[in-house]
């Protein structure tokens, strides 16, 4: 029994200067409202955007105390609320996430949907401001919280290695920035400056709002018009860093920390991004190489040689980067690099079995179909289309995955080049 692919059919329109996308579906017991404010990744803005996300969620004009604000969310049947930043290629996205139960499942009647939209409006239009500035108390506390968060990156050695290789690989490109910003920028940011920045991005930067749930689109639209009256200017074009860059020479970087397991990360440039015709072939390339338990990296690094517990490759599709990641015994470093390079070579030569291709098509298609069961998944898929400027339908992408063949994958493989080999290792032994 094959699940039918139903399209991810958001109804899109302009409301109060924002792009609003509504998807009515009876599948979920909650309503999800996600607002994305887009900013160009840059040294100038990165820390401010991250700090702003933290400060915004502390208070609003209606709930000037954090405790009151959180109590209100609890009262809305434990509404899930967060403001955070994420990196998509050369963009930094400030995201306001809100999710409330659908009234249908509650014994008491409550206008939860409207209250949720009102709450999002509080964030965007009615922040807690004193003398034209965000409250000093929250700015100070959140600077400290953000500093700790940046410094805690080192706790997770996998993430740490990933950020370090990105920094080394993309030196001079905005993409090298950590999305939470830089500690050295924090002292100079004031409540006043942050509020001015808030006004700027809520007025001129592109805003996309997504609503998914068992909702009446008209009710949602009315509530947005009423509760989120943004005074928008025409959204300007963001000045983004370039996505692709040719590799001049292969770099090797070694860091040392007190670790038991060494992390080997190999950053590659693929020269293919989300908007390109070769994107489905890139997905297959990555899938065959290291996306799944049947992939070349897993089979050769883990199963054949027992060198690692994990050996995978992951794409950053807006930037066109592929990251190969593995946790190894440091003594096996050279052997691991050798095997990984062999796999890249196999891909270039098109040494891909019919079975590898069929398995990867099937598992990739499955991954994309699974998005249909998650509000978050459908929103991300659609938003990737919005920001890349190439709005693929799900069926179109699935067809692309079915149609791309060995020749297409080979073509992609021959564009992929290793940029930086990074090793995070212990402090013992020789360099």
């Amino acid at each position: 029994m094959k699940a039918q692919t139903s399209e991810i059919a958001f109804q899109s329109s302009q409301m109060n200067g924002m792009n609003v996308h509504i998807l009515p579906t009876a599948k979920f017991k909650t309503t999800t409202i996600v607002t994305m404010i887009e900013q160009a990744l840059s040294e100038e803005h990165v820390t401010k955007t991250a700090l702003l996300a933290n400060v915004m969620k502390r208070a609003s004009a209606r709930f000037p105390e954090t405790k009151l604000l959180r109590a209100h969310l609890d009262f809305l049947y434990g509404a899930i609320f967060d403001v955070d930043v994420m990196k998509k290629g050369e963009r930094q996205i400030l995201q306001i996430y809100m999710e409330v139960p659908n009234e249908k499942y509650l014994s008491k009647e409550d206008a939860l949907l409207e209250q949720a939209i009102q709450f999002v409006g509080d964030m965007l239009v009615r922040p807690y401001v004193q003398n034209n500035a965000f409250a000093e108390k929250y700015v100070t506390q959140e600077k400290e919280a953000l500093r700790k968060r940046i410094e805690s990156l080192i706790d997770d050695k996998m993430k740490y290695a990933n950020q370090r290789v990105t920094e080394e690989m993309c030196k001079g490109e905005p993409f090298s920035l950590l999305v939470q910003g830089r500690v050295q920028d924090l002292p100079a940011i004031t409540g006043q400056e942050l509020y001015r920045y808030f006004q700027e991005i809520t007025t001129t930067n592109p805003i996309n709002m997504f609503v998914v749930g068992d909702v009446e689109p008209q009710t949602v639209a009315d509530a947005i018009r009423t509760h989120i009256p943004l005074a928008r200017k025409a959204a300007g074009e963001l000045q983004l860093g370039g996505a692709t860059k040719q590799v001049a020479e292969e770099k090797e970087v070694v860091d040392r920390l007190d670790v038991n397991q060494a992390k080997l990360n190999i950053g590659c440039r693929t020269q293919v991004t989300y908007k390109d015709d070769d994107y489905p072939a890139l997905l297959l390339y990555n899938g065959i190489l290291g996306g799944f338990p049947h992939s070349k990296l897993f089979v050769n690094v883990r199963e054949k040689e027992s060198l690692a517990y994990y050996a995978v490759s992951r794409l950053e599709s807006h930037k066109g980067i592929m990251m190969i990641m593995s946790g190894i015994d440091v003594g096996k470093y050279k052997r691991a690099v050798e095997i990984i390079k062999e796999q890249l070579e196999q891909m270039r030569a098109g040494n891909i079995s019919e079975e590898e291709l069929t398995q990867t098509r099937a598992t990739l298609s499955n991954q994309f179909r699974e998005l249909l069961d998650s509000a978050r998944g459908m929103i991300d898929f659609t938003y990737n289309g919005v920001i890349s400027g190439r709005k693929r339908k799900l069926d179109e992408l699935l067809a692309g995955i079915e149609q791309a063949g060995i020749e297409d994958i080979k073509r992609v493989a021959n564009k992929v080049a290793i940029d930086t080999i990074y090793l995070l290792r212990d402090k013992k032994g020789e360099a």
């Binding site: 029994m1 979920f28 017991k29 080192i154 038991n260 994990y310 946790g327 099937a362 699974e370 249909l372």
Partner: protein, 430 residues
């Protein structure tokens, strides 16, 4: 096939116990694309001392349940993961303290995938060579966990709380303990714990229940099983008091990590009583330490905690504990402050308003988690193993009173039951 309708959450559960003793539960989800199936045995890392089929009492090496889970994927003539991949399914498995679960999710070819799942878990194939090879892979998995400060602070807290009960042992074992694992041990464990009568199969998602039940029935009827063994597990008697007050460890971290554990004195609860205590304790924890609580506000504003601060209560028949903590610049002050705050809260008690709010929040969060077939799949089984129904969480929550919460606050949050675990950097300059 029995049918149970849970009206309030709009879910229906189909159930049948097969002739070989296997319990099957089906939860169809309207409108969903994917299906998720989990095949679970009541066998985890704590079951390392038991009687074999022949009645011999044995101790097996720590980490063997997890090792066995890894080895189930390898067969004489095929690789299970590749078979699932061909059908587009993604498969996985995990081992916890008291269960081992094998699972897949798919949007296509459910029949094939279900047969595959049932067949590979019911067909052990271990060789000396493949057991040796796996030691390298699991060795790297263990080393990865050794570098993970969140895991370290959690495991050390269990060690601080539990003197003898084997949840104080690493699920994957250590490189030393797994070096003693042999294929003979694996077969002994398999034969003891993988009989269908000790297992539960759950399927959640997009399918016709009658057809799927028929497929499962037919798959099982074709196979022969010996009579279900009487499983005798041997556990040491665990004293009520924690093992030690504090454990400290050193790893490279941005900020120290600190967790406080509260070990439950009373064990042995089952079914409704266990669920009720579990939910009530979680409500009390949320009232005390949730993001809208006065305590949270004070801790956050004094910069003693970060947004990594969290808390949870875990409960099983034989053990139950609360964990509170996160990253902090000053572990000792955090511990002292939390202890003082708890003492104050016990004096002050819980107000009706706080209680109602926490209840609403819990109900909302539970409804939200029912959007996820993964959540249902993973939680349903552990509820069943404890004799409970996942879908009766909402009515149970609704029936809990403020007075019960108050009693729980007084009886659970005892200073003499507390233990602390800290992980910090060896030298802060690094």
């Amino acid at each position: 096939m029995q049918t149970t309708v849970f009206e309030q959450v709009n879910e229906t559960v189909y159930h049948e116990t097969l002739d070989n003793g296997l319990q099957v539960f089906l939860v169809p989800k309207q409108g969903f694309s994917k299906t998720y199936a989990v095949f679970t045995t009541r066998y985890g890392s704590i079951d390392s001392h038991f009687k074999t089929r022949s009645g011999e009492e044995i101790n097996v090496p720590d980490g063997i349940a997890h090792f066995l889970e890894h080895k189930m994927f390898e067969k004489k003539d095929r690789d299970v993961m590749h078979e699932f991949s061909k059908n587009g399914a993604s498969c996985n498995a995990f081992t916890s303290f008291n269960r081992t679960a094998y699972l897949f999710s798919c949007t296509d070819k459910l029949d094939d995938n279900l047969n595959l799942l049932l067949d590979y878990v019911q067909e052990p194939y271990f060789t000396d060579a493949s057991v040796e090879k796996e030691k390298g892979i699991i060795g790297q998995e263990i080393t990865m966990y050794d570098d993970n400060p969140d895991w370290k602070v959690y495991m050390n807290l269990l060690k601080a709380m539990y003197q003898k009960y084997p949840i104080n042992i690493e699920i994957a074992g250590t490189i030393e303990t797994i070096s003693h694992i042999t294929k003979e041990y694996l077969y002994q464990c398999y034969e003891t714990f993988y009989h269908p009568a000790n297992m539960l199969l759950l399927v959640v998602g997009s399918f016709e229940p009658e057809a799927i039940m028929k497929l499962i029935r037919e798959n099982q009827t074709k196979k022969e099983f010996p009579p279900a063994p009487q499983i005798t597990r041997v556990f040491p008697e665990e004293p009520a008091a924690p093992a030690q007050e504090k454990i400290e460890a050193f790893l490279t971290v941005g900020l120290p990590k600190c967790m406080i554990g509260i070990k439950e004195k009373e064990t042995g609860l089952t079914k409704e009583a266990l669920l009720r205590r579990d939910l009530t304790t979680k409500l009390v924890l949320d009232i005390a330490f949730g993001t809208s609580s006065a305590i949270y506000e004070r801790l956050y504003e004094s910069e003693l905690i970060t947004d990594s601060f969290d808390f949870d209560y875990s409960s099983e028949q034989d053990y139950a504990y609360t964990i509170i903590g996160g990253d902090t610049p000053d572990p000792d002050r955090l511990v002292a402050t939390i202890k003082a705050e708890i003492a104050q809260l016990k004096q002050k008690g819980i107000s009706q308003e706080e209680f109602e709010r926490a209840k609403r929040k819990k109900i909302g969060h539970f409804l939200r988690s029912l959007n996820s077939v993964e959540f249902i799949a993973n939680q349903f089984t552990s509820f069943k193993f404890n004799g409970n129904d996942l879908f009766s969480v909402v009515p149970t929550l609704e029936s809990i009173t403020r007075e019960e919460a108050e009693t729980r606050l007084q009886e659970h949050f005892l200073e003499e039951q507390m233990a602390v675990s800290i992980v910090r950097s060896a030298s802060p300059q690094e």
